[in-house]
Structure formats: C-alpha cells, structure tokens
C-alpha cells in the first residue's frame, strides 16, 4: 500500500468542525475501519476541531486550523493544529472526578483519548498540535481473529 498524506487549511468557524468530522469519516472509511471505529475516529476529530476553533483560535478569522491525515501500512495518523496560545494539557481537569461530573464542558480531550489509540498534545507559543493515531493493524487483526 502506498503512503498517503493530505492536509487542509481551514477557517476558524463552526463549519470547519463539521467539515473536519466529515473528512475524518471518509478517511476512516477508506482505511477500512468498521462503522463503530469510523464513528469514534470522526468524533475524536470533531472534538479536536472544536478545541482548535473555539479554545485555540477563539473563532479569530485571521487564524487557521490545519488538519492533516496520513495513512501508513499500520496506522491512520491525524493531526490538528491551531494558532492559539498553546493548550496546557496539565491543567485539564479530570471530567470523571466526582466534583467535575456535572460540569458542562471539559470532556473533549477525554473523549479523544477514549476513542483513539495514541493521543499526543504538543503545545507551543504559536499554537497547539493534537496528534492522534488509530491502528489499522489492530482493527484488521481483530476481524481476522479465529472465532
């Protein structure tokens, strides 16, 4: 299989969130994931796009979101970069802690980590890159496993 990488530069709008989700769904489908995994991947990308548009770029029309997909023989690698102040991952409260259960926000990163195999957050002064990996191989292995 040939390696493929595509990237998109998107505005800091709500439409970008929906667009990112749709593109992720298409990439996951082409990569051969099943329906449940496609839903998880597209939702993780949606949540990452929400973070980039709202919290990173704060809807600033002068700031862009970069979305990239890379297919390798074993992985679907997705990165989303914003141009915000840089997310401090250490300050994200645990949404499962009893005192946070009834908070109305703060579950995005948790859901991304729940749905993807590897999640890396790379903050810098020029923005945050969120890199997510879903293993294609583990999916294929599980389908081929003996009954």
């Amino acid at each position: 299989m040939s390696l493929t990488r595509v990237s998109y530069t998107l505005d800091s709008t709500l439409e970008t969130v929906n667009e990112a989700e749709e593109k992720a769904g298409r990439m996951a489908t082409e990569a051969g994931f099943d329906e449940e995994e496609i839903m998880k991947i597209s939702m993780a990308v949606r949540e990452a796009a929400v973070n980039a548009v709202l919290h990173g770029n704060a809807y600033d029309p002068n700031k862009k979101v970069t979305l990239a997909f890379e297919r390798t023989p074993s992985d679907l690698v997705i990165s989303i970069r914003d141009q915000g102040k840089g997310l401090d991952a250490g300050k994200i409260p645990d949404p499962l802690a009893p005192e946070n259960l009834l908070k109305t926000s703060g579950r995005g990163i948790f859901l991304i980590r729940s749905f993807m195999d590897v999640v890396e957050i790379h903050p810098s002064q020029t923005g945050t890159e969120l890199r997510m990996i879903k293993h294609v191989r583990s999916h294929a292995d599980s389908k081929e496993a003996p009954q």
Binding site: L102, K103, F110
Partner: protein
Amino acid sequence: MSMKSSTRQVDGVTIVDLSGRITLGEGSIILRDTVRDLLSKGQKKILLNLGDVNYIDSSGIGELVSAFTTAKNQGGELKLLNLTKKVHDLLQITKLYTVFDVKDDEAAAVKAFNK
C-alpha cells in the same frame, strides 16, 4: 442532519421528542432553549426522549448536564428516555449514566415523576 424538537403533555409530564444531532451549535441551542422555555412556563417535569438522537458530541453532553442541573435547581425533574446505543455508551464512559435518571419505557418513565 440538524436537530428537531417537539413537545407533548402526558399526565402532567412534558415529553420532549428530540431527533437528529445534539452537537455544538444549533442542536445544543435548540435543546437549551426548549428546556429553558418549559421551565419558564412552570413545566418542571421534563422527559427528554432521545430515541431518534443518532449523534451527540461533548457539547451536547454538556447541554444535557446543563438541562438536568437547571431543572433540578428550579425544583424540577428531568429524566432521559430511549437512549440509542451511541448515546448510552457515551454516558457510560463519561460516568454520567448513573447521574441521569434513564428510562426505556415511556409509560413507566411518566409514572416515575414525583406527583
């Protein structure tokens, strides 16, 4: 697909039939406005029928939590009905399944509200 909302009354309980996606933007706003409108009219027994809600994101989850706490703070009750598997699974992993009062039978759910 955006979200649609309609309400009906059954034995003093307002059932809100929701369909589509509860996500950041329109879906979350419709849910928020619907619940606030009901509470402002004194309709404080609210059953959210999520049977036709096929997708919800973290903003939608936050909106459900907000609806639940807003109703409770105003002396009301809000319960959830007919969760799809996707919504059920999301509430499970976010540990909210036990926070909400979740029902799968409409008649039993209506009876479960305090008289």
